[in-house]
């Protein structure tokens, strides 16, 4: 219980600092959980990250399995709420302000100015994800096929993901 309470306060603090996404505070989570308090090992830390990447839902839910592994059910609740409470507060304020001032000059400048920066960061995320996943040209080829099929057809992409899993298991990518 003391561990869960400690996790809650630490993740609450990190949740307030996580501008750009939860992955930006990953190094500090590593420091706190692996190096300082030895709640999980370095390998478990990265394995759980890959698990959350592959599972459905926001990748940030990685903090849930991390808390679960470190301190059981209370740990999972502590880390998840720790990250989501600040996000909810900030989103609430932003939504309320935006509802009132959507057409103001500042709101327009914020939206139009930040859009390309967000897109560049998103493209970088694709690039890093691809480099981590692809062993050689076949991995890049598979991603390219997925890109073209998703853009050109109405095929349900879950089929593509299933095909990727099969190709991975059979060692073809």
């Amino acid at each position: 219980m003391a561990t869960a309470v400690g996790l809650f306060w630490h993740f609450l603090l990190l949740g307030c600092l996580a501008i750009g996404g939860v992955s930006t505070v990953m190094p500090d989570m590593h420091r706190y959980m692996v190096e300082e308090h030895a709640l999980v090992t370095a390998r478990e830390f990265s394995d759980l990250y890959a698990l959350a990447q592959a599972a459905p839902g926001p990748n940030a839910l990685w903090v849930t399995v991390l808390g679960l592994h470190a301190a059981g059910g209370m740990g999972a609740i502590a880390t998840t709420l720790g990250v989501l409470i600040p996000a909810t507060g900030f989103s609430w304020v932003a939504s309320a302000l935006h509802a009132r001032h959507a057409d103001s000059r500042l709101a327009l400048a914020l939206r139009r100015g930040l859009a390309p920066v967000a897109l560049g960061c998103m493209l970088a995320g694709c690039w890093l994800l691809l480099n981590a996943a692809a062993q050689d040209w076949r991995g890049y080829g598979l991603a390219l096929v997925a890109l073209v099929v998703a853009m050109r057809t109405e095929l349900n992409p879950l089929w593509l993901l299933a095909a990727g899993a099969v190709l991975g298991i059979t060692g073809l990518v």
Binding site: G57, F90, A94, A109, P116, A118
Partner: protein, 178 residues
């Protein structure tokens, strides 16, 4: 023209579907369901929402879902959206986390994850290409996009510094233009 959700229940169910199918990245499914199927938002709106979601602390897609829900039905809509987004994935992930304790050493688990990750990268890229088409056809926005990509993707600078460094300049330039 954009369409509005009928009620809070439809918001919850729609985001639940996005969360549940969001293997390897929610954003792809959010774009496919909200823009291509439901037509609740446009590419431009989604991109601008994502941009705001990114400067707010916390998970970007969580912030984005909250703001979309709020726009259609206030606070109730916001909690319907994030509740739908998280409900099923939390349960699935907790189950996977428990399974991990048992199966962490089986090699084919890792191989399957690698194949799915390559596909997920391609899917996310298709969303990015679709949203890039909504950017204005001018030099400056594309310059900021490339700068952010190089800083985060190639130079591997921490995202927070890139955003804190680029965002004020990008907003100032957009402000000046009006």
């Amino acid at each position: 023209m954009s369409v509005r959700p009928r009620d809070v229940r439809e918001i919850f169910l729609t985001f639940a579907r996005i969360g549940l199918s969001g293997f390897g990245g929610v954003l792809f499914w959010m774009r496919r369901v909200l823009i291509q199927e439901k037509r609740w938002v446009t590419d431009e709106e989604l991109l601008e929402g994502l941009a705001i979601g990114q400067i707010l602390p916390g998970p970007n897609v969580y912030n984005l879902s909250f703001m979309i829900g709020y726009r259609f039905a206030g606070l109730r809509g916001a909690f319907a959206a994030v509740g739908g987004l998280l409900a099923a994935p939390v349960v699935i992930l907790v189950c996977l986390g428990l399974l991990y304790r048992v199966f962490s050493s089986v090699p084919f688990v890792h191989n399957a994850l690698a194949g799915m990750a390559a596909v997920a990268a391609g899917l996310l890229l298709s969303s990015a290409v679709g949203m890039a088409a909504a950017l204005p056809r001018r030099f400056v926005p594309w310059l900021f996009m490339v700068a952010a990509f190089v800083a985060v993707g190639v130079l591997r600078w921490p995202l927070i510094y890139v955003i804190l460094g680029l965002a004020p300049v990008a907003v100032l330039v957009a402000w000046q233009r009006q």
